[in-house]
Amino acid sequence: MTEKTRQLPLFLPRELFPELFACLQKNFDRVVGPIVHQHAVVYQELESLAQLPQGFRDTTEAGQYRLYTTGSFRLFDCVSSAQGIKPWLFLPEEPLWQLSTGVDASFESIPVDALSTAWVGARACDLAGLNLLDKHFLHNGCVDERYQKRREKLFVVAVNCHRSLATCFCASTADGPEVSAGFDLLLDELNQGFVLVAATDKARSAIAALELSPATAAQIAAADVGREQARKQQRVMPSPHKLAELQSANLSVEHWQEVAERCLTCGNCTAVCPSCFCFRATDDTPITGEQHQHGRQWDSCFSDSHSYIVGSQVHKTAEHKYRQWLLHKLSYWFGQYGRSGCSGCGRCISWCPAGIDLVAEANRLCSDAGGDAESVRGDNGGPYDG
């Protein structure tokens, strides 16, 4: 069989979805998927299919995220989530080593016991975020073994978006809305079921028992229409080369003050960002003093301690901090890893309590810097077009 025929889209009737779920549960230590928790979609280990956000849709704008019910039987109508895949591979907090005390004191590495994980519901921006983390933690000259072990045991069931939110701009970063790489199984949800592509041997063996038929031309066309609709609803970032040049632009402090006046430096944007990789070292000593543990914890370039050196801070003010965040994400990344560090997911926009809009800021800065920024399309009809 040629690679092309092996990737021929299949069709998974809706009534067979529970069997796909059962296959995943059988083949992996855990199945992680989207659920509704505290009025938001979050990823969690799934016990049953009933936990998926069936009949829910999300809507976002700067500083806002809401869920509403549609009564639909669709499982994957929620496009965004509070977090992407990052917290499952690069843990918010984890121990690295411990030191026992006494005469035979020694440093001992704390090993990682990675579970094989089927991750259901990954979007194009989630996988792009993963690719960005791979560049940093696996391909920058030093491998992060903890990240690598979890990464190797990840099985990705991706879902193509058929609608974009008012904060989505993954087409501008060339990461979506279609999923094009980094998945094992890929789903396009239609009313009657799913157009499905199995891209890896692992995926083909996981679904072998389902004996699926090829998708019909009409089913494939319906999926195409859905993806095209998502593409049309996207917002527009300045082009990559304009962003790459932003670091060299002669932007005076006023350009950053304008946004710094609104920025609370809370670090929400860095916490929800799928590619933010900063972490701080932590040291814990129990009250008995018998064993010391050294670990790491997510850090943010908005925290005061992030740039601390000998009694001072490099990034002292909100404009320094916001400049560091925006220029690093959109511009310095080109020098570090050959592309922008943004996957266009829009989480930093919807979860910013001050409603600072990265797309609007980037367009404004590029325009101030003298480039012809693309026009921002605005709310483009919002999510209800979907």
Binding site: W97, F107, F137, N140, C278, F279, H292, H328
Partner: protein, 276 residues
Amino acid sequence: MADPWLPMLAEVIENQPEVPGVATLALRLVDDQQRQEYRFQWGQFNMLYLKGVGEIPISIMDCEGDHILHTIRAVGRVSNRMVELQSGDHMGLRGPFGNHWPLEGTEQRDLVFITAGLGCAPVLAAIRQAILQRQRFNRIVILQGVKHRHDLLWETQYQAWRDVPDCQVLLAASEEHAHIPHWSMGMVTVLLEQAEFDINHCTVMMCGPEPMLRASMQKLLEMGVDPQHCFLSLERNMQCGFGHCGHCQMGDQFLCRQGPIFPYSRIQRWLETRGI
């Protein structure tokens, strides 16, 4: 692959107080194999861990036999405790990390070392190495600035370097008001006016606070020194040592991995902007 996070156990062999608040620790790796395999190059740094307190990056002042020397100023939670360690105490050591001073490729050039304050420590081993291989280089010029004369570390060492052929040693104190033999009044940049070196065939290596680096670079450029041959050792918050934790970024550079030593041309635009 060895876990790059895991420190090696090191014993404090000696704590040599230098000036108030500054001490040089001589450390020895406890494990035989680790001790034999440990190699450093001039200008690199180690991550030093103190049990239950924390871990900090400290430049390697020098290695003497199997002793690894670190000169530490008490400025924060961890370093305050480190300068109090006594022989027989233990600590953790990871490293060495970072790149090194460009002593190769500088044969028959004048070497100019410009340092201020504790910036002399990461350069000391390179100066010693250059003097050990004296015939490889042309003139050696050593400029060091401090606030007060009593802040100067290793005054006898500087004195000894004065006796090395074709080696010029100049010292400056910015907050002294009376004349001291061999000393100038002012910042280290005033010494550049007295320094004798060939601006067309020199390699400059500098370490110190960023304002001092900026001022020295400005002076060197005015003198006509080629910025390609000026190397600066920079400092940032560092918590891993291999470019992962993100704290040491300056523009698109990870200082701990791609630095801490950079040719001026590579970091010029970041150095010139405050808060980057």
